[in-house]
Symmetry: none
Subunit: 235 residues, 4 copies
């Protein structure tokens, strides 16, 4: 029933824009649409679920936002809940994989790795749609136990391993003190997760805001933690 979405969350998605002449015609619109629908629906669903919450989102609005009719949604997903599941598991997993690849490829010091990787990764995440998933999960887990499972298996656990691995590397190399790894991971991650959550809740309101830009905050936060665990804190 649900079509396996099958395509990336990547950009350059959906050009209704006229193709440069000479380019072979795009695949027959019928077929092309079919291939893109699932992803378009997922985008629409994510946006609305994050903004309004699952229960307050109408399937018809998702469909309209994706540019299709009510019925079409059910050609690709069996239910609103199915859509919720897919939205969550599709949008973060790939990002985690990317992070792991980058960490594995890194040559320099743990401190350096963390400073660049964490800042980059979280900045990109924060600015992408994926950041909304954090708010969504936080808001809805208790209503859908299945989400908790998804979260731990596909996101929390691999994520902890990724960051914990970097901390451990620093301990082993003598850069960091003999801290409790897991505790540090949470100290690092929680404010950043919160930043994502914030962006889609209070941060999305007219109101004052927290008065500093995210990049500055992320950088400062990472520095703070690194200084906290470093064996040679810079003055």
């Amino acid at each position: 029933m649900p079509r396996k979405p099958a395509l990336s969350a990547e950009p350059s998605e959906r050009s209704d824009l006229p193709e440069p002449a000479g380019t072979p015609a795009p695949p027959a619109s019928h077929q092309r649409r079919k291939a893109e629908r699932p992803s378009e629906l997922l985008d629409a669903a994510l946006q609305l679920f994050v903004e309004k919450g699952f229960a307050a989102t109408k399937t018809e609005d998702i469909a309209r936002l994706a540019g299709v009719s009510k019925g079409t949604l059910y050609l690709y997903y069996t239910s609103k809940e199915d859509l919720l599941r897919e939205v969550i598991s599709q949008r973060v997993s790939t990002r985690i994989a990317e992070g792991m690849a980058r960490a594995a490829a890194h040559q320099g010091s743990a401190t350096e790795l963390m400073r660049t990787l964490l800042v980059d990764w979280w900045m990109q995440t924060l600015e992408s749609d994926a950041s909304g998933v954090f708010k969504l999960v936080v808001s809805e887990v208790r209503n859908f136990p299945e989400i908790a499972e998804l979260w731990f298996n596909e996101i929390s656990q691999p994520g902890s391993q990724l960051i914990g691995g970097m901390v451990q590397r620093g301990i082993d190399s003598g850069e960091f003190r003999q801290v409790d790894v897991l505790s540090v991971v949470y100290s690092i991650v929680m404010p950043l997760v919160m930043l994502c959550v914030h962006r889609h809740s209070l941060g999305a309101c007219e109101c004052p805001g927290m008065g500093l830009d995210p990049q500055t905050f992320i950088r400062a936060h990472i520095d703070l933690v690194l200084r906290g665990i470093s064996t040679h804190p810079e003055p």
Copy 2:
């Protein structure tokens, strides 16, 4: 038919009966009930709103949990949304006031003040029902702009002032470096807010959990920050 205008949750609600002058008159049991109804309804509403979210909570469930009938709820609150408003503004404000009083009374160093006050306050908050309000606000602000207002005026702003004041005190006294106060406030608060949010979302699931107890985390987190801003970090 004009709805009773959503009176406050305060006791001594509208006794048209003249109190016997001077006599404290222990309230008759059903009188007492009557006086407590609003608060019981608020407790029930908070619990369910936090657990299921606003849209997914049924007014009937709130009423049942508070031990009254559906209709009764509407004698005290004009609508489900009214209940949401009240729930949010009632449960955190008092706690903030307490914190400010305690901070004002403190004599010793800023470091000392922060270490004790923040740990105590957040531990108590985390363990009380009030912690749920954080999750509730995070989940629902975007649907109810009014909540954002409540939040900033009654919670965020006074809270920032409380903590920012302590940081500033430390800077003035030379205990802390010349850091950006607001940035530090956020570094302090965000993980703690997140802890509250977490407790009512992923933390409420069966799943592994974050592996460390809250008190330890709070203490470690405050220490980390203090070390980060201190002019004389302990080794």
Copy 3:
């Protein structure tokens, strides 16, 4: 890029090429299929309508059961209701014609004719798909007045004439008493119709069943009636 229209499983679909003149050209297998489509659709529709009822049957299921796609169904029938009409009028009429032919050809006594013809005819009907039509008509006439017309003109009336004719023959020959012909016809037919209906309703359930095989029942029933109207009942 127009997708090759996903042709049916059949090869060499659709030859626009002129057939070699003069050659009788045994119908290409796909030609045969094409010719049989309507009948296959009717079979599928009958089966599902009888089993689930008209309203609860999905056109897509009919199409699938007939081995074609949803759209194809509409190339042969204008609507689901059209299919219902056709299903009813096609499957019983032929059987009635057969019965009339056989009755006309018969030489012996009315008793003998009825004993053989009725038993044979109803056994064959009961075991064929046609038996389902009785259940279908019974279940759906009230929703489709048109069906009532079909029923009376094409089935009920000719059928009554067929059986009534045999009874009258027996009265005329002195084999039967001066009974009311129509009344006898109904006494004969109703249990047999009921047998068909039963086969497709309660008789199709797991449950105990009526404990006697149809042939025995039919035989016994006919005997009972014949004995009832006979001028010389066998002891």
Copy 4:
């Protein structure tokens, strides 16, 4: 929100008219209605299910026919299917019990008993709403296995026992030949069930009809069977 004026199909319902003075007021309308609702809904549901079939009946129509709103139906029955179940088990069981009581009380011959009891019972059944249940069951069993169970346990089995008992009584007393009891039961019952089914399907159409009145048919049918199994058939 306009209150449904709540008039039932019943006459003299809802008397805004002044009650005759001195008459004790009818039970509080609120309460009285609550007590009658389930039965009114069942009546409405039976009528529509029998006429249109389960799938083609709209819950809203049932509600309207019962004089209530859509939502009210769900205060009494959990679903349309629940209504179907109840409709079937409530309307025939009582009639069977009545029949059994009467049979048990009978003193005279089996022949006499059957002639009077069967004719009476089936005439009453045929003319009551209960007759519709037969059509309903026949049309819907295959979609709802649960109905088959209900049918066998609450209707078919006790019914067979009731009639079979009478036949057996006649055999024991020498009135009837040594026939196969069950077979006779079916010969008796099937045309009568069919009569009920017929009344709510083809019999409800404008069309010619079967040309004889039910009472005559029932009488003739019973006579026919009795003559068929009697040891001393009257000429």
